[in-house]
Amino acid sequence: MKQAQTHGTPMKYGMAIDLDKCTGCGACMVACMAENNIPFKEDESDKRVSITWMRIFKLTNGKSFPDSDICYLPRPCQHCEGHEGHSPCVSVCPATATDYSRETGIVSQIVTRCFGCRYCMGACPYHARYFNWWDPVWPDGMEKYLSPDVSPRMRGVVEKCSFCFHRYQLAKNKAYLDGERRVPEAAYQTACTQACPAGAIVFGDLNNPEHQVHQIVKPDSNNGNRSRNPKAFRLLERTGTNTKVYYLSSREWVRRAGDNYLAHEKTGQLAKLHH
């Protein structure tokens, strides 16, 4: 007999990132690297072979001095739900190494299952997936700080942001001990959320009205989970990736930069969602 693992409604973990607050300082990137045993090389300046589960993009408004403006956009894995969990990467992985969990809404990546075909990387429009082109090597002595909660990856596999799922696992351990069925909001926060000095990142269960992220985003399940918050937008919403990372900005040009629009279309306009 099959049963849904969830007790009551399933969870759908997601993020709201306030770009008005984000300063592009990079604390989230490094918090992520430190939390998830992310390796580093002597030269990391070629960003196309530099593993950063959380990456900060710099957006410019294209105007010239002194009307120019910039905005930073932190990009973790967007944990696309796509259509019923068939996110771009999950549906293409030939070996079931990446999967979508109906229980948490998290897109998993199991590196020991992955054999490195990199199809998922081609499928991901956010470049949130990274390949281990090299063996991970820590300078002598530095492997001491590696965390046992996240397994270091070997050469030749794809890795990506897991929404610090190991923290959920640990919180769940505690929950069992305390006889709780659900993991409390505060007990499961990602490393980037916790570190962000500007408090720009809010993480939690988008399905749970008590969670702050739900209150900010107010997802509209009848409308492809789009946000009811006028300041909010999602990256490439029109492709139907149906992401769980929402961005907030009071600046129209920033919101427009979040998706592709034809000249005449107005920001936020949405053609029919695919799938």
Partner: protein
Amino acid sequence: MKVDRRSFLSFVIGGAAGTALSPLPWKLMDDSSIWSQMWPWTPVPPDGEVVYEDSTCTLCPGGCGISVRKVDSRAVKIEGQSGHPVNDGSICILGLSGLQMLYGPTRIKSPMKRIGERGEGKWQKISWDEAFAILTEKLTDIRDKGEAHTVAALAGSDSGTVPALIQRFMAAYGSPNFMRSPSYRDVDELTVKALFGADGRTGFDVENADYVLSFGSGFVDGWGSPVRMFKAASLWKEKDIPVVQVEPRLSNSAAKATRWIPINPGTEADLALGIAAVMVANGIADTGDVSGLSGWENDLLANYEPQKVAQTTGIDAAVIVEVAKGFARADRPLALCGRGKAQTAVSLRETAAVYILNALTGNINQEGGMWAIPEADYIQWPDVATDNLASAGLDQPRLDGAGTGKYTDARYLTNRLADSVNGGGPYPLQVLLVAGANPCHYLPDTQHVKAAFARIPFIVSFSSFQDETAAMADLLMPDHVYLERYEDVPVGAGLVQQMIGLSKPVVSPQFNTRHLGEVLIMTAKAMGGSIADAFPWDDYETCLEETLAEKWDTLMETGVWVRADTDPVAGSIQLAGLDAPAVQAEGDVNSFPLLLVPYDSIQLTSGYMGEAPFMIKAVSDTVIQGTDGFIEINPLTASGVGLGEGDRATLTTPRGEALVRVHLFEGIQPGVLAMVRGLGHTAYDGYLAGKGVNVNELIGPVEDPSTGFDAAWGIRAKLDKA
């Protein structure tokens, strides 16, 4: 019978069939894939019991509380300490990288003495006993010759027990030459003294201000206590507080401000005074706290009326008036001073102008305003009983000339050290002790500084890392890093209250290093006599505990001691310093048509600490690519020189030249070039060394005649296609 080929063939076929029906091929296939899943050369972090230990971060002056996650005896992650008055759970990129410094390969792992040429990097490991012997012998010889004053010490800061012990050691030994790394603190202290007539520092109540006017202060680029400022900036967003950022470049702070006002570099003081003039002229200034205004009012109105200021600053007069009114009419307006991270001094004129601007709002020592408060004064040690040799030495003038002649008000003029060593000083320097400082990387005109260091007969470095200065040393006596030691951390950094944090040993020392405090006490004891008497403590921990007295328990419990109800040093200010001349950029306009200004990034320490690999990894590819460093330039200026995105160019200033690549940026004023501070290391390892250009090598100190501090804010430059 003879085994013919057919029989052999069938034997092989039989073998194949048998093999296929045995586990051999299948298990091998499975196991080889499992082997690839756990390659022996991919590390497996050992599991264990998880504990969190709180401490205080000392990687920058910010004084954040940290909470270190440990698995058994290993520290695996540094997180912000929730509930801490400074950072409440958050943490910055540098603080997060701490473990890479603790466990990093650039640690100095034991005491060493130089065996090769200076700077050659040939060292010999020695025991601590030998190290002590070498040091004490050296110091004793010099002292016995009556030349105690020719020994100097350079520390990162002068607050807290460890620097105090260094100062005490110098006093007992008999040298007036204690110095600290130059920073905005120098001019801040001096200005507070000049305006308030008392010793103290400024504090800024950013959380409660309702209008913020920042003169180039990088409130999200590392100014003040960085994490506190990040939080404040978000608070301002939430409360819709107007934040005006005045600087020539669209910095991250400018981007976070509600309004960015580009200004001609180096004319901030004029704008401040212009705004003051508008306020006075319109009678919206609150002159209650300001004495001496009447004598100055006419000059102010005459010299700084909006049109004139518009001329110098390049800001539209209407804008000046608008800002002045907005600022003056706010309930709790606050003006910030100190460029970027405020790691360098600015001119007395600029500092005074901004502080007076604060005063003219009547918001001094008020909620949301600027405060002038005394340093926490908790180090109460009996005066040193100096012997004759010491007294003689102490009577000598300082090498840097601070406190005498035209520099009476300055306490330290570290920026003049290089000159005096290179022949400008009253007497030759024989020994230099360096602790928590890396002058050979961040002092302006670094080449000049290195040349000076090359001439110092004997240099002792207490650095924990193989930094540029340690590379120039003769004797290395490595200190623990902050995660391995006890230390009191008095926090200034623009806080409006007195605060002391406590660093605790989170892990046992990883290498054969010694606590600097310990080393000083032991050296003193080894030298005996009055010097030993000045250090009555058995060890540093006792010293610390006795010094902190009743605060000790609080610190051990909560990790931080705060005194909120600190009395300001004075309630009102006396106008001063405004007649001081402006500090100009070095170099003449004709041969150097452009202006080079350094900028600060929170992603680079640009201080004593070298950047950890994680930080460099986070740096954008428009700042470093491979080993190439970039300068930011306005597309107009670039096309003028015939340069496109990523092109290589030679950047020349009166002080030096460097090969750079250009990044076109619309957020920078035409004619101005910006280069990030903190890169271009020559020491450390391949993760840091050789990346980018050290901007300090291109910019020389420009002395502010009214203080003696280096107040250079940029330098003239030219750019040629390479």
